[in-house]
């Protein structure tokens, strides 16, 4: 994840097919040239510093037991960052290959973090959780069906570069986080400081990746210079947010006593239906002169 900051000029977008993955044609020397500035190195080291601080705080305050996937994610990013710094310093020719393997490992473990955020936010609200799964499934089926139909008609091509492939995977995560944010907003679900921080930070990270990769894929090299600088900057902001919200373990506030809600909801559903019919009748009346 954090190596994206150094991935600035990695892809030359000239019809490298999916089959070439994960070793597409990279403009590596351009990337090295762009990322060798002091500012980039400073951002890289700041990232490693903040990540190590986060790991230390996780161990000291004990939240790593409560959010295991998130902790594994931070840990893996931290280790990868240190490893990539060494590769960049001593085996720069292998950097590109390592970069894309690690990148897709990050996407994979990032999906586990998304799942953990879902569990943390909706775990105590099974009905809302089921609703989120259904909405997501529906959205995914719609997107895949549309993509397949357009692809079969030859209107669009499949992701031709790793940038587009990664962007599409991140978009799926972004959509799932949008659904989650809407549900937690609508149902006024209490999140707690830690979960709110993880959610906001990871969501911000995914949103900026989607924006940056979309602009990179559509604008190409003109966006290159901004890409290598914007992405690490956003990632550093996310790390600061995580450090602030995860400084100490703070669980979500306890829920109200459980009532026999299932019976309530059955009755509520009937009452709601009645109310809705009534409302529709009033609306019908208001349409008439």
């Amino acid at each position: 994840m954090a190596r994206q900051r150094n991935a600035g000029g990695l892809i030359r977008k000239k019809g490298e097919g999916l089959w070439a993955f994960p070793f597409p044609c990279y403009d590596l020397f351009h990337a090295i040239h762009m990322t060798s500035s002091h500012a980039m190195l400073f951002l890289w080291l700041t990232g490693i510093g903040l990540e190590s601080l986060l790991v230390v705080r996780a161990l000291a305050s004990g939240w790593f037991k409560k959010y295991p996937f998130f902790f594994a994610y931070v840990m893996s990013v931290f280790l990868q960052d240190v490893f990539f710094l060494a590769v960049y310093r001593f085996h720069v020719r292998d950097y590109t290959a390592f970069y894309w393997w690690a990148e897709f490992f990050s996407v994979l473990i990032g999906s586990a973090v998304s799942w953990e955020i879902f569990r943390l936010v909706l775990g105590r609200y099974p009905g809302a959780g089921r609703m989120a799964r259904n909405v997501l499934l529906f959205a995914l089926i719609m997107v895949i069906a549309k993509g397949l139909a357009e692809s079969l008609r030859g209107e669009i091509s499949w992701p031709s570069t790793a940038v587009e492939l990664e962007r599409n995977l991140r978009v799926i995560q972004a959509v799932s986080l949008i659904v989650l944010a809407m549900l937690s907003f609508y149902y006024v679900i209490p999140l707690g400081r830690n979960v709110k921080g993880i959610f906001a930070g990871y969501g911000l990270f995914i949103a900026t990746i989607v924006l940056v990769l979309t602009l990179r894929a559509s604008l190409g090299n003109t966006f290159q210079a901004s890409w290598v600088f914007l992405q690490p900057l956003c990632y550093t902001a996310v790390l600061v947010l995580w450090c602030q919200s995860l400084w100490r373990y703070e669980p979500a506030t306890a829920l109200e006593p459980q009532s026999n809600i299932e019976e309530d909801y059955r009755s509520l559903a009937l009452a709601t239906q009645k109310g809705l019919h009534q409302t529709r009748a009033f609306l019908g009346k208001s349409m008439r002169p």
Partner: protein, 184 residues
Amino acid sequence: MIGTLPLLAIGLLLIGLLAVLSRRAESVGDESFSEPSNDSSPGSPRFEERWKVIVERIFGCEDWDFVLSQGSKELRRLFFCERKQIALCWLSEIRNQARAAMRFHVSRARRSRKLAALLELRLALDYFSIRMKCALIAFVLLLRGPVALRGMMGQASHLAEQLRGLHKVASQTEAFASKTTTSQ
């Protein structure tokens, strides 16, 4: 596979939602939904009677015609300003009641395992249509004053009836909730 603009919209929407979510205050317990006294509860005949009188008074042309007949510009201006304030207060009351009813429903329903997505969606749409109508009426009020709303009075009454529908739902839920709490 997917266009650039929708992807940018997805990214920006996520950032916007997270900003709203981060600023939101934490709430754990059920939102308090005070049950009004019998006389002032939305379903009671006295309430409906008073409600009609208030709406007719605020948006009706009786007072306005009287003020016009006095011929004083200053009086007209004062009347216009005050009536606009009263109408806005009335509208804000409707909005608050709708919000309270909706929060009550949500705070009760969110723990259920059997949430029906379509039903919830329809209730949410009803609530947002009330909010939209309130916004529209407020816009006309601010722009032209309550007198211009005379034509919309019928619509305002329907809005109130819609609200009563929501209150009815919320009141029934309250009754069920208290029943189950005491049975534990």
